[in-house]
Symmetry: C2
Subunit: 321 residues, 2 copies
């Protein structure tokens, strides 16, 4: 019989299909060849098509302007750029409360263009490239978390149309909010160290290094979901040491490469669970998007995961890169 | 500036895009002509291709077998059929607990084939047809809610591929669970009567009749989301009087027809929020599926709704059917 599994700390349940679990090949879909980039907003030479950068990384140096001020001139030669989103969900300003149920959406909505190369997704990046990206994550988080109206910084990535990416050029996003989401508060103050120790020997391990552990969570809501934890509890990416951050970057790239190889380069989302002040064990959640959440999931908050995390982890461990 | 809005009773927030709200026509997509049904499992004459019915409705009578026993012979002439799902997420049995975080997925997974007509979706049904469907909902709910291992009955509908429907023939589903989902518990004991009274004059009203009120909720997570409430608080569909249920059915059909006309027959989900024992004001939530929940939504639980509920309700009220 299938199982209902509950998350480590919250009351979120998931149905795990042990009865008729799907195989990795069940998810592989033909991918139409992506058209060549014509006037891609994020490609080099088109810097004038986006709002001015808040920060631009070059090999060996970074140029940045203060948050909430106008940006940099449209320089070329960058390797990573952080720019305001042209259609922001939230905007700098006062988080005025109209009532206890209504607040002005004050915040920051940035895009991090991860590389000048249109087809260089993180799953195909070199160690240096993925480390550079995580350094940019750290910098933008630190800059934005300082703003007085920011209570939570959501740092996430959408890859592929089915995962919500509207532009193909490699990019991540930051949406900083004037409230802390409930599902983040649910993560406050939990001790994940015993969980990490347990998952290293559970059969759900995907990768383990000096500073980082990646595993398929016991109650993963999505097939092939993987969580990447620094071993040392830190509240956010800015608290990691350079060595810890570099290691987490490379392990993340490694997991993404395994997912891409195993499942035919599927759409995915990843996002950091982190905190600015309250203790929380920051980590990254990677979720390939292989199905659709339908009426049952909306009604119950319970996902149906058609691949037991044990099988998912085994396949991800065993695939040859 | 955009707004963050909080749900009536829970701490669920939503970003409402007042800045650059989309118009109804922004969502209209070309719909490829659906192929004619060849060997549709749910079309008349193919009753032998599905598991035996648990209940079959004919004009003027209903044949049913006890839950947990084998089904009816493959009769023709039915107008509504309830059959076990061929690939069930949950199965009848003992809800054995392996641990506090792991339970056998004991339950019931049924499909309600809503009509013998392959192209007769609820948005195009007659008053009689939609009432008949809601009567079948009531009957199946009552039958399944009696089972000792059932703690929650999720009754929902997926329409269109993007809303998770894998078969085109009109059908609803029931997944009965051995646990009550957290997001249902959050609805326990709230007094929605003041909310309903307020929404009748808020500008978010979509329809109001003797027994039923439909409105775009203040913090709708989805564009054109509509909630349909019976005026009298009832825990579930079995507690409605025949008149209340008939009225709710017709108002629901009316809302679905407005959504279809306004937005080009979009994919949607609907589901009943209900309870078996604890007081709760049962209602139906209708959510057109016009976008994708991506990394931000997964990370924060906060949806970005690109149409203020006030605009959505106005468009839905004003469209001529």
């Amino acid at each position: 019989m299938n199982e209902l599994r509950r998350d480590y700390f919250t009351d979120r349940w998931v149905i795990i299909a042990t009865d008729r679990a799907k195989r990795p090949t069940d998810f592989v879909r033909p991918k139409p060849a992506e058209p060549a980039p014509l006037n891609c907003f994020f490609c080099p030479g088109n810097e004038g098509m986006t709002p001015p950068s808040k920060a631009s990384y070059f090999d060996g140096r970074v140029l940045r302007c203060e948050a909430d001020t106008e940006g940099l001139p449209p320089l070329t030669g960058w390797v990573v750029r952080a720019i305001p989103n042209l259609f922001p969900a939230v905007k700098p300003g006062e988080a005025t409360m109209a009532s206890t149920r209504q607040i002005a959406a004050a915040g920051v909505h940035e895009v991090i263009v991860e590389t000048p190369e249109h087809f260089r997704q993180p799953q195909g990046m070199s160690d240096d490239e993925i480390r550079r990206l995580f350094t940019a994550y750290r910098d933008r988080f630190s800059e934005i978390a300082r703003l007085p109206y920011v209570k939570y910084v959501s740092l996430f990535r959408n890859y592929g149309k089915e995962a919500g990416a509207s532009l193909a050029h490699p990019h991540s996003q930051i949406i900083a909010l004037p409230v802390v989401p409930e599902i983040v508060k649910e993560q406050y103050r939990h001790d994940y160290s015993p969980v990490i120790a347990q998952e290293e020997t559970s059969g759900r391990l995907v990768a383990a290094t000096q500073h980082t552990v990646a595993f398929a969570p016991f109650a993963s809501p999505f097939p092939y979901g993987v969580w990447v934890f620094p071993r040392r509890p830190c509240k956010n990416i800015a608290e990691l040491t350079d060595a810890e951050r570099d290691d987490m970057a490379v392990v993340t790239r490694d997991v993404l490469a395994r997912v891409a190889k195993l499942l035919g380069d599927p759409p995915y989302n990843y996002a950091f669970v982190q905190s600015m002040d309250v203790p929380l064990h920051m980590h990254l959640r990677i979720y390939p998007r292989l199905g659709i959440e339908a009426g049952f999931e909306l009604n119950t908050g319970i996902n149906i995961n058609s691949v037991p995390p044990e099988s998912a982890a085994k396949s991800l461990r065993e695939i040859t890169l």
